[in-house]
Symmetry: C2
Subunit: 391 residues, 2 copies
Amino acid sequence: MSTDSLLKHLACSNCGSVFDHREIQTFCLTCNKPLLAVYDLEQAKKKLSKELFSNRLPNLWRYRELLPILEGKHIVSLGEGFTPLIPLSSLGRRLALPHVFVKDESQIPTGSFKARGLAVAVSKALELGIKRVAIPTAGNAGGALAAYAARAGIECFIFMPADVPRLNLIESQVCGARVTLVKGIISDCAKMIAERKAEMGWFDMSTLKEPYRLEGKKTMGWELAEQFEWTLPDVILYPTGGGTGLIGMWRAFSELAELGWISGSRPRMISVQSRGCDPITRAFGDGKTESEFYHNAQTLAAGLRVPKAFGDALILKAIRESGGVAISVSDDEILSAMKDMAQVEGIFMCPEGAATLAAMKRLKEEGEVNASDRIVLFNTATGLKYPEIWQ
Amino acid sequence: MSTDSLLKHLACSNCGSVFDHREIQTFCLTCNKPLLAVYDLEQAKKKLSKELFSNRLPNLWRYRELLPILEGKHIVSLGEGFTPLIPLSSLGRRLALPHVFVKDESQIPTGSFKARGLAVAVSKALELGIKRVAIPTAGNAGGALAAYAARAGIECFIFMPADVPRLNLIESQVCGARVTLVKGIISDCAKMIAERKAEMGWFDMSTLKEPYRLEGKKTMGWELAEQFEWTLPDVILYPTGGGTGLIGMWRAFSELAELGWISGSRPRMISVQSRGCDPITRAFGDGKTESEFYHNAQTLAAGLRVPKAFGDALILKAIRESGGVAISVSDDEILSAMKDMAQVEGIFMCPEGAATLAAMKRLKEEGEVNASDRIVLFNTATGLKYPEIWQ
């Protein structure tokens, strides 16, 4: 059965060249930049409604007309999406910020927001007849790809740092993926895949070198709009590794505006990184449109060890268009934020998620956010995945 | 604001004596048996509808009129409930059982179904003015209580076996609970609480010695009914430790029938235990109405190390009334089921959840379930909580 997807084509995020979505695509080889999915929003205006979406099951496929899968039988789903938006009344009171929420991406298959992108990307891979996939990962994307590939019957090869959080290795292996532990970080893993992929027949699922993970992540923006009753929050704090979620949400807000479903100003997008690896913060501070490779990345927030995001130009553009900023926090601030959040609000965050709380405290001190702002912190995974931190 | 709860009173599950829900209650001291919450279902028939529930947010509080909290301000929520029902088409094909589903209780706060019972119990504790709670736990209930108690501002004391899965200890401590590791298992933990609680001023949150965890667990039954479009599956396989979920679902089905929202036969309730601790299976096989204390309990499914459930009589009654059975599986079968489920369906189950898959295979071989049955397996927690199994 058709999903009634309104996908028209893919377009290069730099030169605008059009690519056919009915064939396997990667990124724009001319510009070396990501492709973006383009939907027929004129049709969408006629066919879609808020009520249509809201009456469907609470998972990301409720937005299926604005997702890239064409046939329902290709959807590979573990029930992902529509994660709760949890108010933080106690912390909010302490910080004099009464309208703070956590978008809790721990309550999702594989315990991390990576499930969104990989549910959609694996579904599309299945639709396009792809049989073998490979991914370089800081950890959680590996676990998510392993799960969805297993479910789709697609062979899965994962390259992760040798010092990856142990549970990322375990979840990938238990799901049957072939895992290679690499001395180095995600960029070293990516290099190994690039060298071997032609010979091995792997389709490369690297962040934004595959066009559809972005579409899965976009649904975080759609869900926020729906959960705020078709308005948008004032500020979103997002821990930026590869940055797909930040770019995706910014795309979602454009789609929503073009449909006329939201009005007024869009959220300020706050990119949060760890001081031990903050290429986006540096590029933002220096007024640059792209980031530089960050050498000797080191932080307890494993997911933030991304020394150069392939979508850096899109990340920086979204932050600036939104009137946001990019800031960095220390590992000590992250650890302290993890404890605060758990002890005051009962949410056992991942370190990447906790970085957003640390950043919000800083923004409050600097007067960058205030009591009237509706603020969303992204908890991108469950704290359960990081026992090493507490040993 | 009122929740419009229709709670009338509590009643002893044995003698029927009535207890006032506006006061703190525990269990029937005369019978030494659990109390059950009784709602005004005549009012419910007039005031409630399927549509009313279905139009609310996808969490367990959508059923609030049939939950025990009286004031909305006392609800302590992390967005728990309405977990996905995931079809198992590949495993189903292999086993010639085309209608098998997993109710995935990993996608919930704290990563386990214990969140349901403790969200409701902590909310009620807050409503009743309780300030300090204690719990004996095989692991996951400790993590869940720690989180909700932190959120409610209630002091929390947890007693768990010294060899508890490490992550249960970590999540409890990070959420600020005071944890005592006990040489022994959950029954030894319970003894320590019983000895000290008067002196320490603890309210005892032990399974079914507190009346409201059952009400939270009951919502699993309500959700199944709603997810099957107000019908019920034919068979439910449930891993029985304390058994609150099994009893709770059986209560939910009674409520649904009394409201006239379902008709026809109710599911066969299959209790699954590990051979290393299977007091319910033994009592069922011996035709007894209560279980005997199981000595030297040992199994990799930590949550099933419950040597004597306080609600054993209710568990056995529900199994028999439903036409179900109680069966045991080995740790080897559990481990093999964990791998099968992960590699074929992409679901990284907890060992307790995997026990239900092992049991279903056995029931299929014995002709106890067949291709026309709609079967639900309960995955009661995320596999992420059990890295020890893979070391």
